[in-house]
């Protein structure tokens, strides 16, 4: 009796359509499968951008819908990357080491191979043994499970402690910042078991696929990222629609009232927080093989703040707004900071965008917050003609005289 989700919310269909067209277009223009108009590194940048968009969509669920301004989302993103990175590093190093040792007169034992791999990986931090947390690093499925389990469990424990104590608002934001900072500082240590500040590298080389080449691999990852973004978007749109979404938005607007309706606010927040953490972690697991390297700097508090800025600029409370914000701002940011943007000569001063981009971003964040709280996605309303009349408080005329300016929108 009910129309399917995508028909009730046509914006989902539009989003998926645009995503599909984008993916096909990039494929046709890529070096691996098409004309080569888009360089392999650009394909990677676009693929990474899709992962960031997925993280932003998850952030929008947490912030825009449930009202939890989490400034630690990138901790989950990076943890997802670390988990997949462990397998990538071990499997690849194993391949190289086996190749070298095969030339010895006596074939090496498994223990010898394992020791050689460990020396190879942990030599930089002065160790030659696998730390305990690498127990599953030999198994792709094991590490894939950890991509979901480790960030999910962290979010569960952190969220349970924070929500149960009814930590709210700015205090919760500070707490999430502290979480990602503490994790980053821990991972910076050499004996944390994840190669300290060296991080994990060489992740762009996928074991067993050396023959494929980066031109094609980059497109494969773009496909995977687009698929993940599409599915993640659908999942979150489904969660945010219907009664669950209704309760979530109600919690954002008046938490105490929701309690008196009989809903356990804490469990709802926890479900939303853990779900978002898991989706973010999957985005991270797809991002870092395209980036090639991950180190603890990725967990810096500023990274999570950027995510919030993207969502704010794109328009929070709308999933496509978050995705638009992430794509727009992160691409613009890599253009400006990549040194390719021409300097602006003002005569008395030369504006170097590499230095001034941050100022621009900060300024536009302030401007958006003050003058366009709906962000970039407010432009969609403009197209649909959903603009509140601007009468500066004057009456709206005889037929709509009873309505306030804001009400007259619908």
């Amino acid at each position: 009796m009910r129309k399917p989700l995508v028909l009730r919310h046509p914006s989902i269909l539009v989003f998926l359509g645009v995503l599909a067209v984008f993916t096909v277009a990039v494929t046709v223009l890529s070096a691996g499968y098409g004309t080569g108009a888009i360089s392999t590194s650009m394909v990677k940048t676009l693929g990474k951008t899709l992962c960031l968009a997925l993280a932003a969509v998850a952030m929008d669920l947490v912030w825009g819908y449930a009202g939890i301004l989490s400034l630690g989302q990138m901790a989950f993103f990076a943890l997802g990357g670390y988990m997949i990175g462990m397998w990538l590093m071990v499997a690849r190093t194993e391949g190289i080491v086996t190749g070298t040792l095969a030339n010895l007169p006596i074939p090496p034992t498994d223990a010898e191979i394992s020791a050689a791999v460990a020396t190879q990986i942990f030599g930089v931090v002065g160790s030659d043994k696998f730390p305990l947390i690498w127990a599953f690093s030999g198994s792709l499925w094991g590490q894939l499970a950890l991509v979901v389990l480790v960030p999910g469990l962290l979010a569960l424990v952190f969220g349970w402690l924070a929500f149960r104590s009814r930590v709210n608002g700015v205090y919760l934001s500070i707490l999430t910042q502290a979480m990602t900072l503490a994790l980053a500082l821990y991972l910076f240590q050499n004996d944390s078991g994840l190669r300290g500040n060296n991080g994990l590298s060489g992740l762009q080389n996928i074991p067993g696929l050396d023959a494929v080449g980066q031109e094609k691999l980059s497109v494969w990852f773009l496909w995977a990222s687009a698929l993940a973004l599409g599915l993640g978007y659908l999942l979150i749109a489904w969660v945010a629609s219907g009664k669950f979404g209704s309760v979530t938005r109600a919690i954002r607007d008046d938490e105490a009232r929701v309690r008196f309706l009989g809903y356990s606010v804490e469990s709802y927040k926890l479900v939303v927080f853990v779900l978002a953490a898991v989706v973010t972690a999957i985005a991270g697991a797809l991002y870092y093989p395209q980036a090639g390297i991950i180190n603890p700097a990725e967990l810096a508090p500023i990274a999570s703040i950027y995510l919030a800025v993207w969502v704010a600029i794109g328009g929070r409370g709308r999933l496509y707004g978050a995705a638009i914000g992430a794509v727009f701002v992160s691409l613009l940011s890599s253009w400006f900071t990549g040194g390719r943007a021409p300097d602006l000569n003002l005569g008395f001063y030369i504006v170097k965008w590499v230095d001034w981009w941050q100022v621009m971003l900060g300024l536009s964040f302030v401007l958006v917050t003050l003058f366009a709280p709906k962000g970039l996605s407010g432009l969609v309303d403009l197209f649909e003609g959903l603009r509140p009349p601007r009468r500066r408080g004057a009456a709206l005329g005889p037929d709509m005289g009873a309505l306030r300016e804001k009400e007259a929108v619908e």
Binding site: M1, R2, V239, G242, K243, F244, S246, V247, R249, A250, D253, D254, A256, R257, R259, F260, L261, G262, Y263, S264, V265, S267, Y268, V271, L403, E407, E410
Partner: protein, 247 residues
């Protein structure tokens, strides 16, 4: 008549100020009761204690046939046990439609995962329409709650309480800020509610209480000063002294 809610000797103080002082109170099934009292008499604090928002320093709050203590339960558990609350200023979810507001309040499983799987059924749609009819919002279902007038918001909130299907309704100043016509409609609504639910109304306005025509409890400085019909309590010299004398 066995009591639905029994409050025994509760006291609570905030920073040394005794907001509730050895208060005892009882209400039976399907009873309509008005609580009156001057500002600071502890009316709202009393509601906060029953609904779990505030914990008393001493005393007992017992609920239902099994005389279960409410003091060990949190707000959402108490709400699920069957106590609904209406706040002084209308608190509806302004960003959502009337029908979404009512659907949220509809009695159904409250856990996150069952809500995630919840789908509107013919029954639920009909129930929402019926509730909207009952509180006079039948033609406003698709409107955002934020667009309703003050009085309509109050009714929507009462409708949401009905949707919860509680056994006891606590209503805080339902007539505040209403026009005369809206007050009369609210009186009728409350009287009709009390046919199937126990209702406690906290109110300032004497005329409104008179129209409710029910047993009245007068609170003063955190304890019960007098109880009985409105005529009985208004004849009480102490009541006249602390309450009516000032008006």
């Amino acid at each position: 008549m066995t009591a639905l809610l029994e409050v025994r000797g509760i006291s609570v103080s905030f920073d040394g100020f005794r907001a509730i002082n050895n208060l005892s109170f009882e209400i039976g099934e399907c009873e309509l009761r008005a609580i009156i009292g001057p500002n600071g008499a502890g009316k709202t604090t009393f509601m906060d204690i029953v609904t779990g928002k505030t914990r008393p320093n001493e005393g007992q709050v017992l609920w239902g046939e099994g005389s279960k203590s409410l003091l060990k339960m949190n707000e959402s558990q108490i709400a699920r046990a069957g106590i609904g609350r209406k706040f002084q200023r209308p608190t509806v979810f302004e960003d959502q439609t009337v029908s979404e507001n009512l659907t949220m309040a509809l009695s159904a499983a409250r856990g996150p995962f069952s809500v995630l799987r919840w789908r509107p059924s013919a029954d639920s749609v009909a129930r929402v329409a019926e509730l909207a009819e009952e509180v006079g919002l039948a033609d406003q279902l698709a409107r955002k709650a934020g667009e309703l007038s003050h009085g309509q918001k109050q009714w929507l909130e009462i409708g949401m309480l009905l949707a919860q299907d509680p056994r006891l309704l606590l209503v805080d100043e339902p007539a505040a800020g209403m026009t005369l016509a809206e007050r009369e409609q609210t009186t009728t609504l409350l009287r009709r509610l009390s046919e199937r639910h126990a209702v406690v109304v906290v109110e300032h306005d004497m005329d409104f209480v008179r129209r409710l025509d029910c047993k009245v409890t007068v609170l003063h400085e955190g304890s019960v000063l007098a109880e009985g019909s409105l005529d009985h309590v208004t004849a009480n010299p102490e009541v006249i002294e602390v309450y009516l004398g000032r008006g």
